[in-house]
């Protein structure tokens, strides 16, 4: 958020009722990136005439990220969905079967499994940490299970070890979608080295530039080699018939140099945040009654792009539903998303079994990412305060609008 803050005085000031949005797209532009530094990168790309195909900026980004995560390998990929699909296809050995995953997470998870030729099987989540419930997962492991796909919590590092042990116990590979654990102010130690591979995304670093930057980290030399080939059509250089296993399906997962430049600048400009950001958030921004941080730690996390990511829970006293609150915040230009109950997505909804905890979370919780500057937090605090104060009127008016 830059420029003049649009504080709300009346219901009509809310964007959903025709007012100006709190955050306009214009104000998001360039907020995360230094234009001149980016143009310097562009000039370098032009000078080298090397726009993609494992260019120097991609290699530098991979080195920097591997260092950051203290992993042996980092493979940059064009999008998070492709990164997930690649690892699942390789770890599924190209066979049919299923991937066991939590029912709360990014919608990209089950679709990635399908692209990889595998069926998603959903397990319920833990009420407290909102991650895969390993007891429920145990009951769903079958001979068809090829892989475990888990979303580790940012604030409980031991959970990933428990999930890894669970996978080993069942003889399954485990892939971690760690995008939401990517936190700039916490120790990066061991994040990236857990399981067979971890998937991260810097997409939030791009703001409305619309840039995706995903990457896979692993300490497995063989997997890293296979994935780097798979990303480039499974080509193996001049003699394309050698080296590759028959089960690896190639594709174009290459990150281009412009997007690598965005990723590098995001790391340079926003990547190292002090651990004081959470305290600062608490000082600047408290949630009104009826809405609270949803997960056990009660901590908001700051991602690598410098945005705060919060999962919020609405209580009945908030009056507005989670879905209504998401709609209100979206209309204000904020990055609010519902907690997707993945088993309700087409085409799996037809076969969905009851997953009560996940359904409860989907009903009451939502995700919100906001800039971490004082101004961003003041703006959000002001908006939430207004919503809290006028929630009953807003709910009534929204109901009228629907009618």
């Amino acid at each position: 958020m830059t420029g003049k803050l649009r504080t709300k005085q009346h219901l009509e000031d809310l964007a959903i009722f025709g007012g100006a949005a709190l955050v306009s797209s214009r104000h998001k532009i360039g907020e995360h990136l230094d234009l001149e530094a980016f143009l310097d990168s562009v000039r370098g790309i032009y000078q080298r005439r090397h726009l993609t195909n494992n260019g120097p900026l991609v290699r530098e980004l991979e080195r920097r990220l591997a260092d950051r995560h203290q992993t042996k390998h980092c493979i940059a990929v064009a999008t998070r969905g492709l990164a997930l699909s690649m690892v699942l296809q390789v770890r599924g050995s190209g066979r049919s079967g299923s991937v066991l995953m939590p029912a709360i997470g990014s919608p990209e998870l089950p679709y990635a499994a399908r692209w990889a030729g595998l069926m998603p099987v959903f397990a319920d989540v833990d009420q407290h940490a909102q991650v895969l419930d390993l007891d429920d997962a145990r009951s769903r492991v079958s001979l068809d299970t090829r892989c475990l796909l888990a979303v580790p919590p940012a604030d409980t590092p031991d959970w990933a070890d428990a999930a890894w042990a669970f996978a080993r116990q069942h003889g399954l590979p485990i892939v971690l979608d760690s995008t939401d654990t990517l936190s700039a102010h916490e120790s990066a130690s061991r994040r990236g080295s857990r399981g067979d591979a971890e998937i991260f995304s810097l997409s939030e670093a791009s703001g409305v530039l619309g840039v995706d930057v995903a990457y896979i980290t692993t300490d497995d030399d063989g997997l890293a080699y296979t994935l780097s080939r798979q990303r480039d059509f499974n080509a193996a250089g001049r003699e394309p018939t050698d080296l590759r296993g028959p089960q690896v399906l190639g594709l174009n997962g290459k990150l281009n140099e412009f997007h690598a430049a965005v990723g590098l600048l995001a790391l340079d400009q926003r990547g190292i945040k002090s651990g004081a950001s959470e305290d600062r958030r608490r000082e600047l921004f408290s949630l009104p009654a009826g809405i609270s941080l949803a997960t056990g730690s009660q901590e908001a996390r700051q991602d690598v792009a410098g945005e705060l990511r919060l999962r919020l829970r609405v209580a009945p006293s908030w009056v507005l539903s989670a879905a209504q609150t998401v709609e209100l915040l979206k209309q204000e230009g904020l990055n609010a998303q519902p907690c997707y109950p993945l088993h309700h997505l087409a085409p799996w909804s037809a076969h969905a079994t009851a997953l009560p905890v996940a359904e409860g979370i989907a009903e009451a919780c939502f995700n919100l990412a906001v800039g971490a500057s004082d101004r961003d937090l003041h703006g959000l605090a002001s908006l939430m305060e207004f919503l809290g104060a006028r929630r009953s009127e807003i709910a009534a008016r929204m109901a009228t609008c629907v009618q």
Binding site: I29, L82, L209, N234, T241, R244, G245, L251, F258, A346
Partner: protein, 393 residues
């Protein structure tokens, strides 16, 4: 001056070019124009760059709608899924690996078909025997921007009530059988890879006249289908970024110039290789984009195999390519399917052993082309001496 062995770099001579020149030189729009547009983007303009690019591409391609995606392979994956294909899709064996790989990712089995030796592409006669009750579509590839028999393939497919769609990654800006490339089949996929005639670093797009198909593709790309939505289709977040879109828009503006420059280089190659024994330059007619300079090497006439010629040219800093080598039927995971059936791929084998691609693109001057052709001519003329020298060595 008559060339001797010592003229050639492989035998101690000075390389034909002072620095390596690879196949696939880029066509970059002006840096100054890109900087202006990027400044506009950061200042809050150009927010709809991808939509603008889609509209401009639709106009250029002469088609109702265009949907942009992360790259051409992803666009093919999305298209196969959006068409609801199941079972088998017939694809040529002489094509880039992504043609078949994208079908496999979409959950359909690519059935490889040999190609016509002359056109290097599918023909209705070659496809017809492969159609079974499991065939859900035919995927033609407009190789080198030439027409992959669209009329005949569509007639065949219509008779079997299956769709034809095209991998037109080489064919942006091409007229095929008298119509823009995008007007054939239910949809066509174009590549905007850095080495293509329109360049968005990576990137691809799907062109179609079918509004419902375009809407499905956008839904797949932009959003996730929910339980209350009727389509049971895969989703893949695969938008093109605004940065890529801006580059693509500028590159698209340069398309007529780039075609003209390509044609100039093609004509220089044609002139320079005229009469060189055993080197047959692929003829591009009017309506081509001249992006690919391709020839067949006849070892019996030329005295050297294609691979020997490539090795000698590499010493001259002319880095050529064996496009589509060794043919999809020899690449995993498809080679297994080929081993277990009785079909042969004689024409694909023939082309994969003889086809050579020469450098072209913005960084290749007419003088470069002249030097390359002179050195090829010298190599071919000296082929018996080269063979003798190699034997003695």
């Amino acid at each position: 001056m008559k060339a001797t062995l010592s003229t050639l770099a492989a035998f101690g001579g000075t390389p034909a070019l002072s620095a390596p020149l690879h196949v696939g030189q880029l066509n970059l729009p002006a840096l100054a124009a890109l900087e202006v547009e990027l400044r506009r983007l950061f200042d809050g303009g150009s927010l709809s760059a991808m939509r603008d690019l889609e509209e401009r591409l639709a106009q250029t391609l002469g088609v109702e709608d265009v949907v942009c995606a992360t790259n051409g392979t992803v666009a093919l994956m999305m298209l196969a899924a959006a068409l609801g294909l199941t079972g088998e899709v017939i694809v040529p064996a002489f094509t880039f690996a992504a043609t078949a790989q994208s079908m496999s990712w979409a959950g359909v089995e690519p059935v490889l078909c040999d190609v016509d030796k002359t056109t290097q592409m599918l023909s209705a006669d070659l496809v017809r025997p492969l159609i079974t009750e499991r065939t859900s579509a035919i995927l033609g590839v407009h190789v080198w921007g030439h027409a992959c028999a669209p009329g005949a393939l569509m007639a065949l497919a219509n008779a079997r009530s299956i769709p034809v769609f095209f991998d037109a990654c080489h064919a942006l800006g091409c007229m095929l059988e008298g119509r823009p490339a995008a007007q054939h089949g239910v949809a066509s996929v174009f590549s905007l890879h850095a080495t293509k005639i329109v360049n968005s670093a990576e990137g691809g797009c799907i062109a179609t006249a079918d509004a419902t198909l375009a809407a499905t593709l956008r839904q797949m790309r932009d959003t996730y289908l929910r339980a209350d939505q009727p389509l049971a289709c895969l989703s893949l977040r695969a938008r093109m970024s605004n940065i890529q879109s801006i580059l693509g828009l500028l590159s698209l503006r340069d398309l007529p110039i780039n075609i003209e420059e390509n044609r100039r280089r093609y004509n220089a190659y044609r002139e320079g290789l005229d009469g060189v024994p055993g080197i047959a330059l692929l003829h591009h007619g009017d309506g081509n984009n001249y992006q690919y300079i391709v020839a067949e090497v006849d070892a019996d006439v030329c005295g050297l195999t294609r691979d020997q010629l490539i090795a000698l040219l590499e010493r001259e800093n002319v880095i050529c390519r064996r496009h589509f080598f060794p043919g999809l039927h020899r690449l995993p995971p498809y080679e297994f399917e080929v081993r277990t059936n009785t079909r042969g791929f004689p024409n694909t084998e023939y082309l994969a052993a003889r086809s050579i691609q020469f450098p072209s693109g913005q960084a290749v001057s007419t003088e470069d082309v002249t030097r390359i052709c002179e050195r090829i001519r010298a190599i071919v003329m000296l082929s018996s001496d080269i063979r003798r020298a190699k034997r003695e060595a």
